[in-house]
Symmetry: C2
Subunit: 319 residues, 2 copies
């Protein structure tokens, strides 16, 4: 039985892939420092005898080296995933993304683990000149500390593959949504509407275009590409062949909740420093391999709202 | 009078740019930890009243923040510059390149310094698919820890420019040679021939093609582009419109030294893990701006040999 090590196992996407791997019959060692992950997200996994959880921080290299013992594949999904606060805390992306990934790779090398699956981001394309943006777009100029750190991680992973005969599957995600989604637009809007049903402040002008992928489609794609591609470094964009404007998403959410708040826009056309008004990825490469998303953006948004409605505990705690 | 801060001021290229800036009448605060730099390289600068030297390590952020006080422009040339030993000491590129650059940027932010000139490398293109390789080549897959770390630095610099209203001039160098060159092929071959005049071991098959730029041409280009371009992020390839094979370089060196050693090749077609058999950059962007190199590859190689012949002290000390 293969042993998978999942970093960020109590996070949004990390907990879903943990559940999926367990369902497929493999064992999972889940690692999370619970700084943004939730124990509730691994409640199901914890009832499975093939799951073991360790609470450690990826910054602790020695701990990580010993935790990785006996692993076959590392799914490295732990990250500082919020692009917005880079300028307020520049060290976060460096430590939690770049240095943490270095530590993961060192721990793999130490334990002879040869395969890594990594969650990158469409933000690595900076302000892309080509839409939809293919994997081989022109050399990007980074516009966010988050994108810069994920580019640094991709570079480290590829260089380790070359130097130490490892193999990697790198996925550049658009925004992902669905059950357990606890940051980003839908979460923010829902939270604001919970506090004030009649007024919604919206960062940006509402016309930022976004391409969202439903989390189960994302997990399908990751597993499918891992099983069906075999280069040294396998890089895939993940997204849907469509996009929406933030304002459309707001309309879907409000219709679902039967609310009609006044909308107040602020902050100009770009949401935040380093925000990219349009991330829209060319997913032909993984589509040619045989994967297709099953869920539309609207369905994904509504599934997320539905989840939040049934799990309002996510707004308490530290959020 | 503008105050320049030069990191790596006692290194090969750093000491040349220090001399040039002083010659142009500005003041220089030189920073070096002398781990690979040489005090002899700043002998001339130290006699200039506009030069001040501080021996600190860029890893020490607090020291760096206070050292940067009052600077106008940072020339960040300190780096682990040897691509070959990444796999033996993976932490070196991470610390001396990525984290050191982060510290430089943080110290600039802390002191309100808005301009940075950075020495990147043609290695950021990985194994390029296009020759000569332009700045906008397709998104590269990194093949060396060195290239990965310089890509990480470029990303950090660009993201800081976006987030904190800074401006950057990033130069992707081919191999540079000339006076004070104390690593790389010419240095290695000269050193080996000094120990054994009749036999020369050559890493790789001798057919690795390399494009070399003479250090004074490199400094000309850096100053010229800094003075004549004004984007937020200015990226330029630096090199000559020509290349040579390692074997040609060996012939020039041996002819100059009047030696005819037996050549023994080892290590296959690639010199070392992550070595790129061919780095050849498209320099049209900076040529259009108005810069042209004046020195051929052969002249550059011979100037380097001449320098080594008159400065054999470089082979003593820690080398």
């Amino acid at each position: 039985m293969s042993k998978y090590i999942v970093t960020g196992c109590a996070g949004f996407i990390g907990s879903h892939i943990t559940d999926r791997i367990l369902k497929l019959g493999s064992s999972v060692l889940g690692i999370d420092n619970l700084s943004t992950g939730h124990e509730k997200f691994i409640e199901l996994a914890l009832r499975n005898k093939n799951f073991k959880f360790i609470n450690i921080d990826l910054i602790d290299l020695e701990c990580l080296k010993s935790a990785f013992s006996g692993g076959d594949v590392v799914i490295h999904f732990a990250a500082n995933a919020d692009v917005r606060f880079g300028p307020q805390n520049t060290r976060k992306d460096l430590e939690q993304n770049t240095i943490a990934t270095y530590n993961v790779l060192e721990s793999m090398k130490f334990n002879g683990i040869k395969k890594i699956i990594f969650s990158s981001t469409g933000s690595v394309y900076g302000e892309a000149k080509q839409f939809p943006t293919p994997e081989e777009a022109c050399f990007p100029i980074q516009t966010s500390l988050y994108g810069a750190s994920k580019t640094a991680c991709e570079g480290l992973i590829s260089a380790y593959c070359e130097a130490f005969d490892m193999q990697s599957w790198i996925f550049r995600f658009v925004s992902i949504l669905g059950e357990r989604y606890t940051h980003g637009h839908v979460y923010d809007f829902y939270k604001k509407l919970r506090n004030n049903k009649s007024l919604l402040h919206v960062l940006g002008d509402g016309h930022q275009r976004k391409s969202y992928l439903y989390v189960q489609d994302c997990i399908d794609a990751v597993i499918f590409a891992f099983q069906n591609s075999n280069e040294k470094v396998n890089i895939y964009n993940l997204g849907v062949d469509d996009y929406c404007e933030v304002i459309q998403s707001i309309t879907w959410i409000c219709d679902y909740l039967q609310l009609s708040p006044t909308l107040e826009f602020y902050g100009g056309t770009k949401g935040w420093s380093g925000d990219n008004p349009f991330i829209y990825l060319d997913t032909n490469k993984i589509r040619k391999l045989g994967w297709t998303p099953k869920t539309s953006i609207k369905e994904g948004v509504l599934k997320t709202v539905e989840y939040l409605k049934s799990n309002e505990w996510v707004f308490n705690e530290r959020n």
